[in-house]
């Protein structure tokens, strides 16, 4: 059974059609790439899946359960985490607090969160993840003090805190220097090897071609192609979408 099934997903904004009957599925353990020119609906796709936007039509199924239109926190609890193209952090909270927020709602009840103050496991996990990503030592700094690259890594770290089964990365390499790109690719591959499933939106073709075994192409809100990196590179429809007539 596919981990994530998207069926005929459609999203309108007033008269603009951002997504038009897009279908795709993600297998457990996969590293799926989603590419397409600007404005093709990639981020909208993520937003509809994760509950940030409500789809106008279509269905999203995760592990067999229909999660179409559910709120973002529900989707998160089901096991889907994501990062953002434009970094979304909690700027005035410290790096550690940012990480802890990402996990504090997963266990216990509303009441227990009021009464129990100690979070040893969560703190240990957060610090370990920060270490893994190479941004240890910054825990007490407000998130807004970090460099762009560090913030991207924090964003990634937050997505990992809840031990999600599916991680959606929205342009993780944007604005990042080549060394960092190598790092990130390494992290993603390592995590994928450990069993995490990834869907990655990217513009950096080199990264996508080397990272992903399967790629889906969107253009103007529609799915126009799917296949291995080699197949996609040769596909006339894809070239047309990017370079026009």
């Amino acid at each position: 059974m596919a981990l994530l099934e998207i069926e005929n997903l459609t999203k309108h904004f007033f008269r603009l059609s951002a997504l038009s009957r897009v279908s795709l599925s993600v297998e457990p353990g996969e590293l799926l790439g989603v590419i397409g020119p600007n404005g093709s609906g990639k981020t909208t796709l993520f937003n509809c899946v994760t509950g940030v936007l409500r789809p106008s039509d279509g269905h999203v199924r995760f592990r067999g359960e229909d999660i179409t239109g559910r709120t973002a926190d529900t989707v998160y609890h089901r096991g889907i985490a994501r990062t953002f193209q434009l970094i979304q952090l909690f700027p005035e909270m410290t790096v550690l607090e940012n990480m802890l927020v990402a996990t504090q709602e997963k266990e216990g009840t509303l009441l227990s969160r009021l009464l129990h103050r100690e979070e040893p496991e969560a703190t240990v996990r957060a610090l370990a993840l920060l270490e893994f990503l190479g941004i240890a030592g910054l825990e007490e700094n407000p998130a807004s003090n970090l460099s762009y690259g560090q913030q991207k890594l924090l964003d990634f770290g937050m997505a990992l805190m809840s031990d999600p089964q599916l991680i959606l990365l929205d342009e993780p390499m944007a604005g990042v220097n080549p060394t960092m790109i190598k790092n990130l690719v390494g992290h993603i591959l390592e995590l994928n090897a450990r069993g995490y499933t990834f869907v990655v939106i990217e513009h950096n073709m080199e990264v996508v071609m080397s990272l992903c075994r399967r790629i889906v192409v969107l253009s103007q809100g529609e799915r126009i192609a799917e296949g291995t990196p080699a197949e996609i590179a040769d596909n006339p429809l894809v070239l047309d979408a990017y370079f026009g007539r």
């Binding site: 904004f13 007033f14 936007l53």
Partner: protein
């Protein structure tokens, strides 16, 4: 039956004035995310200006009107935008809301302290003589208000839908980032919106001055009504604000006649609650999203 029609005409007449204030309110929200809590005072200030020019300086009506509109657009349009809004907009909705609350208090109590706490009478612009249409009696003032307001609102509507500047405003209202990417000078457009709002409230002031008395605190209920009207009618469409304003005017006039004073306010509030619970975007409004 004749009574009902007469009351409706009176309601539409005052409603048209509320509509102008409501439309300006909605324009500000649409193009610049400003919730102008001082909208009522934006009507009171030009009303006092009108008293100054028309009653005290005894300028001819047309000249006084132009002077009032000018003062309003300079102070409340350009002035407020450059001094307050431009700086506060980047900080999110809340600081601007607070600042407009402060502004409303400032205008209100400055007028009270430095001019007068008393109500100033204002001469009627249109005659109050009754006109007979069959069994229905209306006054020239009511018809005059409706026509005047209709012309102003009509002109505004034409401006927004037929001119380049108007299209630019619509674009900014829909999506600011996209609009500026397309080369629209968003800041200048916001200034224009503020100027338009100031002009609208100035006209509303001129029409309402003979009906209410000109006093420092009439802005409180006026502002509330503009807010009401925009919420009920639809916060993101001009025609929503228009509908809302007219509704508020008609409901107010009818309930004053048929419902005891105790419950008049309550009745209007029940409508508000119903709209908020059933269709929060307003009767003619469109749902807004995260986008």
């Amino acid at each position: 039956m004749a009574d009902l029609v007469q009351l409706c005409v009176a309601g539409v007449s005052i409603g048209a004035i509320y509509a102008m204030a409501a439309i300006g309110f909605v324009l500000l929200w649409q193009t610049s995310n400003t919730i102008n809590f001082a909208q009522g005072e934006f009507v009171v200030l030009p009303a006092f200006a009108m008293v100054l020019f028309f009653v005290i300086f005894r300028l001819p009506f047309a000249v006084a009107m132009l002077a009032t509109v000018l003062v309003s657009t300079l102070l409340l349009g350009v002035g407020v935008k450059e001094l307050l809004v431009a700086r506060l907009l980047k900080m999110g909705v809340l600081p601007l809301v607070i600042a407009t609350i402060g502004l409303s208090l400032l205008i209100r109590y400055s007028l009270q302290q430095f001019w007068t706490p008393l109500a100033l009478p204002f001469p009627a612009i249109f005659s109050r003589d009754p006109i007979r249409l069959g069994t229905i009696v209306v006054s020239l003032e009511e018809i005059g208000n409706i026509l005047f307001a209709a012309v102003v609102i009509g002109a505004l509507q034409l401006f927004i839908t037929r001119t380049k500047l108007g299209w630019a405003m619509q674009a900014v209202a829909q999506n600011r980032t996209l609009a500026s990417v397309l080369g629209i000078n968003v800041s200048r457009l916001v200034t224009i919106t503020f100027v338009l709002n100031a002009a609208l409230t100035a006209v509303a002031a001129i029409l309402i001055a003979p009906v209410y008395l000109v006093k420092y605190d009439i802005g409180v209920s006026l502002g509330l009504k503009a807010f009401y009207a925009a919420i009920i009618g639809g916060f993101n469409q001009i025609r929503g604000a228009l509908l809302g304003g007219l509704l508020v005017g008609v409901v107010e006039t009818l309930s004053a006649a048929y419902i005891s004073s105790h419950f008049r306010d309550a009745f209007a509030l029940v409508i508000l609650i119903a709209v908020l619970l059933l269709k929060p975007e307003g009767i003619w409004g469109v749902k807004e999203e995260w986008a």
